[in-house]
């Protein structure tokens, strides 16, 4: 394991991410701390999606919902004068988990396109709900008066401290994800994705496992939402727009579905590409669109597929 090309890539990637603030400092380009922090936040969201998409076979086209719930948890508490980060982030995780439980309970009964569309529909509902709540800015959203506060731990106003916190969470989730997919639980959801009738025939009731995975994924994405609103210092229902769900999905596919590093890589490439292309031409979407099609058609394993892997079974 330690010597496999992917492990080396992971190590190199982590090292590079860890050095970003140092490099930014040396080059006097603090912007890159912000940019890479944003990338890592979306990487967390993409990673959470991949747990159910890549490993569980659940094509959720509404993952932006949890990004929104997490963001609203922080934004709403701040709005009411509660800036305590422990409280806010717990609520973000808990709230997303509960919403995921409700959405999942209905959605997982369906499959295929129905699942895609019902997750989309639920997210649309939440999006319009967000737009309608005037108290929290409606469509305009509202500014976050202060970033979440962690007295005695760290200060999110410090760009570097915030950066390393996000990096820490990303690494933690990578580790948790790795344990999860290899543990008994992960084997069940992967088996159900591979062949659900067979999984049922040997005695698994996939529904409970899939629902649990869905909730875990939602909770993780909720934390990403809490991070995103702190990054942006702005709360907006735009976080829940359906194209956002599509983008997160694209990050997963671009990087490599059914792997843990893939979504991280995908988030980085997608956001950097967007940044570079949109600075280059206003018609950047005419490049991004066909690029997306080509990735889907010809690079099924995503970018991570370019890095050789020892025959890791089961996926």
């Amino acid at each position: 394991m330690a010597r496999s090309p992917r492990a080396l890539t992971l190590a190199a990637g982590v090292l590079m991410l860890a050095l970003v603030p140092v490099a930014a400092e040396l080059l006097d380009q603090p912007f890159y701390v912000d940019l890479f922090r944003r990338i890592m936040i979306f990487a967390i969201a993409a990673l959470s999606l991949d747990l159910i998409l890549g490993y569980g076979g659940m094509v959720s086209f509404g993952h932006a919902a949890y990004l929104g719930i997490g963001a609203y948890a922080v934004g709403v508490l701040t709005h009411h004068g509660i800036a305590n980060g422990y409280l806010q982030w717990s609520l973000a995780i808990l709230g997303s988990a509960l919403v995921a439980l409700a959405i999942g309970a209905v959605s997982i009964r369906t499959s295929g396109v129905y699942f895609i569309m019902i997750t989309l529909a639920f997210t649309q509902m939440l999006y319009y709900l967000g737009i309608s709540i005037e108290e929290y800015g409606g469509d305009d959203g509202m500014r976050l008066a202060v970033r979440s506060q962690f007295p005695g731990l760290l200060d999110l106003r410090n760009a570097t401290a915030f950066y390393y916190l996000v990096l820490g969470i990303l690494l933690l989730f990578l580790l948790l994800g790795q344990r999860l997919v290899d543990a008994r639980f992960g084997m069940v959801i992967r088996a159900a994705r591979s062949n659900e009738p067979r999984a049922r025939a040997i005695g698994f009731s996939p529904y409970r496992y899939k629902l649990t995975a869905f909730v875990i994924s939602g909770a993780m994405c909720g934390l990403a939402g809490a991070l995103l609103v702190n990054q942006t210092e702005y709360l907006t229902p735009e976080f829940m727009h359906w194209t956002r769900s599509g983008e997160i999905m694209f990050m997963v596919i671009l990087g490599g579905i059914g792997t843990l590093m893939g979504p991280v890589l995908g988030a980085a490439v997608f956001l950097l590409l967007e940044d570079v292309l949109s600075a280059w031409t206003v018609h950047w979407q005419i490049i991004l669109g066909p690029f997306l099609v080509l990735v889907v058609l010809f690079a099924k394993k995503g970018l991570i597929g370019l890095v050789p892997d020892e025959a890791a079974p089961g996926g």
């Binding site: 094509v59 369906t110 396109v113 709900l129 599509g246 999905m249 889907v296 058609l297």
Partner: protein, 304 residues
């Protein structure tokens, strides 16, 4: 009041018809090729642009309709052959993403060719009046025509699916594609034709929409999601489901917008009804869809 309810019912029907024109093509393509085509909205947009362009060029509304229909059919066939054909055997995830990419491409292409500003599109004089449906109920002629067109298309689709050889192949293809192939039918050609028909239907919806809505890049996505709600409620792949779903969604959405607030204000305070009414009205069709799927996970008319 009764006249108003009647008029709103007519409005709901008319909106349902617009949704049906889109939904029919989408559900046809799904039912037969098992393809989730998010770019269906792009074909709708193409139809609207071409019709607007042809109208300005020819000066004849009817000629522009005919030309735009034919042209959208061609565009649909080209898209099918170039990009979508390879997606039939892929899973839904790939289809969703690739066609999402196509949306970006088409929107930008249209923006490059026609600019980002909304186009001027209007009705010929003979269609812009209104008629007396019932004493006290005036209805725009064009909207009445839309209802008529929708009913005709629905009838034609029904006949095509139940009475023609193509329809038979379509039904057979939906249930057993190897069998159809074994019968010596060129299945590739069949798929291309079906996709072309679906595209033309989307184009028809688009060109009808042109004079009522804003003709601009991205116009397809605004209606697309609602169309998905329609076919999901109806049962994906079922023409009958699309018809029923479209009418239900059209009615629920229209009547919700019209009467939800007054009804709510009976039970709630006026200001609460002011807030809750529009919020609920915009979520109504999604709630309906969730409710339908909770009870019937395959929609109202499951295909398989």
């Amino acid at each position: 009041m009764i006249l108003l309810v009647l008029e709103q019912t007519l409005n709901g029907l008319q909106y349902g018809v617009m949704l049906l024109l889109m939904a029919a093509g989408l559900t046809l393509v799904f039912g037969i090729m098992n393809l989730v085509n998010l770019a269906h909205g792009s074909l709708y947009m193409v139809g609207a642009y071409l019709a607007t362009g042809f109208y300005q060029w020819t000066g004849s509304f009817l000629a522009s309709v005919a030309l735009a229909l034919a042209a959208t059919l061609v565009v649909g066939i080209v898209v099918e052959v170039v990009a979508l054909r390879t997606l039939y055997e892929r899973d839904h995830l790939d289809q969703v993403l690739a066609t999402f990419g196509l949306i970006l491409f088409f929107n930008e292409l249209i923006a490059i060719v026609w600019g980002r500003a909304a186009l001027y599109s209007s009705l010929p004089g003979w269609l812009s009046g209104h008629m007396q449906v019932l004493p006290g109920v005036r209805y725009p002629v064009y909207r009445a025509l839309v209802i008529l067109v929708g009913l005709v298309v629905a009838a034609l689709l029904y006949l095509m699916v139940t009475r023609t050889r193509l329809g038979m192949l379509i039904r057979a293809g939906a249930s057993n594609r190897t069998m159809v192939a074994a019968l010596g039918v060129n299945i590739r050609l069949l798929y291309t034709v079906v996709f072309g028909v679906g595209a033309a239907l989307a184009g028809l919806a688009g060109l009808i929409a042109g004079p009522i809505y804003a003709v601009q890049p991205g116009m397809g996505e605004q209606i697309l999601i609602q169309v998905f709600v329609v076919i999901v409620i109806g049962g994906i792949g079922s023409i009958r489901g699309a018809v029923v779903g479209a009418v239900i969604v059209g009615m629920v959405d229209t009547l919700g917008r019209a009467f939800l607030k007054p009804v709510l204000s009976i039970v709630l305070s006026p200001s609460a009804a002011d807030t809750a009414g529009p919020a609920l009205a915009s979520m109504l069709i999604y709630m309906l869809m969730a409710a339908v799927l909770a009870v019937r996970p395959q929609g109202l008319f499951p295909v398989r």
